[in-house]
């Protein structure tokens, strides 16, 4: 270990111990570390913003011809009017822009990105997959190569014998199907669900799996009962979806699913009672009161779980520091003497 490395190590050990010492009691060493810390973080931001925002995002594109970026540049500079008594109101313009754009993104991301999917998932019954059986497929083709109708596929067919072009009435729609017999041995809360997957092979980066949701037939998979009692699962693929050209391997399998009734009920009760607990328009009496009470019990259990789970994380951070102190710092003592 060189002198400079030893110095760095001791410096790191010093600030680590200085901050730990606060747990015993407040002391001047802690105050020194605390004040240096505050200063360094402020300085850190200067370098960061200068490089990543002012140079890369504003200055360089502006010289490259994106002259209109002077607008946000000016808006940014106007922020500094904050420090003047007289002109501080001007900074509200920039502030208003920041708040407006953020609020716009927020409305959408909260309602569309959080509320809708979380609601949707609450309604779907929880299931467990008992087993998945891949079907002996009577597919029209084992693999498909999605490409428009004008391309000559002969070359590809000879190279990859498994690649065949699917006959298609509509040049942008591909249909593949498998037939299976729905077994008759299912219980009350069990059912069989087809899963259809279309996985890109070879050098494409696109992959998509289309699994039926936890209701009977869904997500574009159509089920038709044939006269002989078998069921045909058909998935029609249309190229409006985000697929690119490439080789895809279609597969149809059947999952035996059981609905986890108790879990599904717990989740619905949990979500609804938590929502009701945060209902402010009425006093919590009567049925509302009971629901809110259940809500607070659920909330407490959830917080307990959360607390217990978190301990682990906090300890692991301490382990990182102790590892440094014990192995690196104490380990360097013999170099000193």
């Amino acid at each position: 270990m060189t002198g400079i490395e030893l110095f760095q190590l001791w410096l790191m050990a010093f600030v680590t111990l200085a901050l730990f010492s606060f747990m015993y009691k407040d002391n001047p060493i802690y105050r020194i570390a605390e004040h240096i810390f505050a200063g360094l973080t402020a300085g850190y931001q200067v370098g960061l913003i200068w490089d990543t925002v002012i140079l890369q995002q504003l200055w360089n594109p502006m010289i490259d011809g994106e002259w209109w970026l002077f607008i946000p540049g000016i808006l940014g500079f106007l922020m500094f009017t904050r420090f003047s008594q007289k002109f501080s109101w001007i900074s509200r313009m920039s502030l208003a822009f920041v708040m407006g754009v953020t609020a716009g993104i927020f409305i959408i991301s909260q309602l569309h990105g959080l509320v809708l999917p979380q609601m949707q998932d609450t309604m779907i019954a929880r299931t467990s997959v008992d087993k998945t059986v891949e079907l002996p497929m009577t597919l029209q083709s084992e693999s498909i190569f999605i490409v428009d109708s004008t391309t000559d596929m002969a070359l590809l067919d000879s190279l990859y014998p498994e690649v065949k072009r699917i006959d298609k009435a509509n040049p942008e729609e591909y249909i593949f199907s498998a037939t299976y017999t729905e077994p008759s041995d299912k219980g009350m809360l069990e059912y069989y669900a087809p899963i259809c997957s279309l996985i890109g092979v070879q050098d494409t980066t696109i992959k998509k799996e289309i699994a039926a949701m936890e209701v009977h037939d869904d997500n574009g998979i159509e089920l038709t009962t044939n006269s002989d009692g078998t069921i045909t699962a058909t998935y029609s693929y249309s190229s409006f979806e985000k697929f690119n050209s490439g080789l895809y391997q279609p597969k149809i399998a059947v999952k035996k699913m059981s609905i986890m009734l108790i879990l599904s009920i717990i989740i619905v009760i949990g979500v609804v009672s938590t929502l009701i607990y945060f209902y402010f328009s009425h006093e919590h009496v009567g049925a509302l009161g009971v629901t809110a009470k259940v809500g607070i019990w659920f909330i407490m259990i959830s917080f307990g779980a959360h607390f217990g789970y978190t301990v682990m994380g906090r300890v692991s951070l301490l382990i990182g520091r102790v590892q440094f102190l014990v192995e690196d710092w104490v380990g360097s003592f013999n170099q000193l003497f």
Partner: protein
């Protein structure tokens, strides 16, 4: 030789794939509608949501009496400030550690306005460390306004709200140091908090302060509950700012959210029932977000 042919063919194949990938963006836009029809459900939600909030806000402004239940822990704010006065020690208010564009911070700032009014009336010193300059600006204006409204403009000190440090833990280190040195009688944490929640609350507890916290972050609530005397959970934070300010705009917004919450509950229950009877497929697909 065979290998070479195969390699050649592979190269050609890759070429075709590459060309297809390059042209596929044009391929994807064959749909001529510029409107995202598939997002119509989100549009409906946004419209229903906005209309509800605006209607309730309008009713609130017109002076329609809108009932809001009492939130436990809110009265504690006034009591706790009173306690600080008795002890002759300051009140510490932390409006979270997020930027002003975080909604929780705005709720925290509006609660700060109310707290500042009480401390102004009691003439108790108030200390507000903040982590972002915009929060600093907003906080200063709100506190000054509160002191003016309480008729104590001469008592207002510009350093009441002060910028401490720009980084989470540098901020925490400074506030913790302050707590152990000045030993405020009351600590109020209202806003967005992250890992520092427990660092602040435990140090405050060690310093013997009464502590009231409020945050909408579910992951930090357990720690505030464990270490503080009162905790406002989740939406209670937003409700608190409406309740304390008694502003019709805030109350109206809260009532509107309550209405939407009931709608959501009904939708969920309806969906569950439909799924149970096997008719849920279409209904559930209404909530698909793309």
């Amino acid at each position: 030789m065979q290998n070479l042919t195969k390699q050649l063919k592979t190269t050609v194949l890759y070429g075709i794939i590459l060309q297809k990938i390059l042209t596929s963006s044009a391929f994807a836009q064959t749909n001529d509608s510029i409107f995202r029809v598939d997002r119509i459900n989100a549009l409906i939600l946004v419209v229903v949501f906005s209309t509800t909030i605006l209607l309730y806000t309008r009713w609130a402004r017109q002076g329609k009496p809108l009932f809001l239940r009492k939130i436990p822990g809110l009265d504690a704010v006034e009591e706790a400030v009173g306690r600080a006065t008795e002890m002759g020690r300051p009140v510490l208010f932390v409006p979270g550690i997020a930027e002003l564009d975080e909604i929780e911070t705005i709720a925290g700032i509006s609660i700060l306005g109310r707290v500042a009014k009480i401390t102004a009336q009691y003439e108790t010193p108030l200390n507000v460390p903040v982590r972002y300059p915009l929060v600093l600006a907003a906080g200063q204006e709100v506190v000054e306004q509160a002191y003016i409204e309480a008729g104590k403009k001469d008592l207002y000190d510009k350093d009441t709200v002060r910028y401490v440090a720009g980084e989470q833990f540098a901020f925490t280190a400074t506030v913790n140091g302050y707590m152990m040195r000045e030993r405020p009688a009351t600590n109020i944490y209202m806003g967005a908090f992250f890992a520092e929640s427990l660092l602040l609350a435990e140090t405050g507890n060690a310093a013997g302060s009464i502590q009231i916290a409020g945050t909408a972050r579910p992951e930090q609530l357990p720690f505030f509950i464990a270490a503080c005397d009162y905790t406002l959970m989740g939406e209670e934070l937003y409700a608190a700012s409406a309740y304390l300010s008694k502003e019709p705009v805030m109350t109206g917004g809260l009532k509107g959210q309550d209405f939407i919450k009931i709608l959501i509950t009904i939708c969920i229950l309806l969906g569950v029932i439909l799924v149970m009877f096997g008719f849920g497929k279409e209904f559930i697909s209404l909530f698909q977000s793309v």
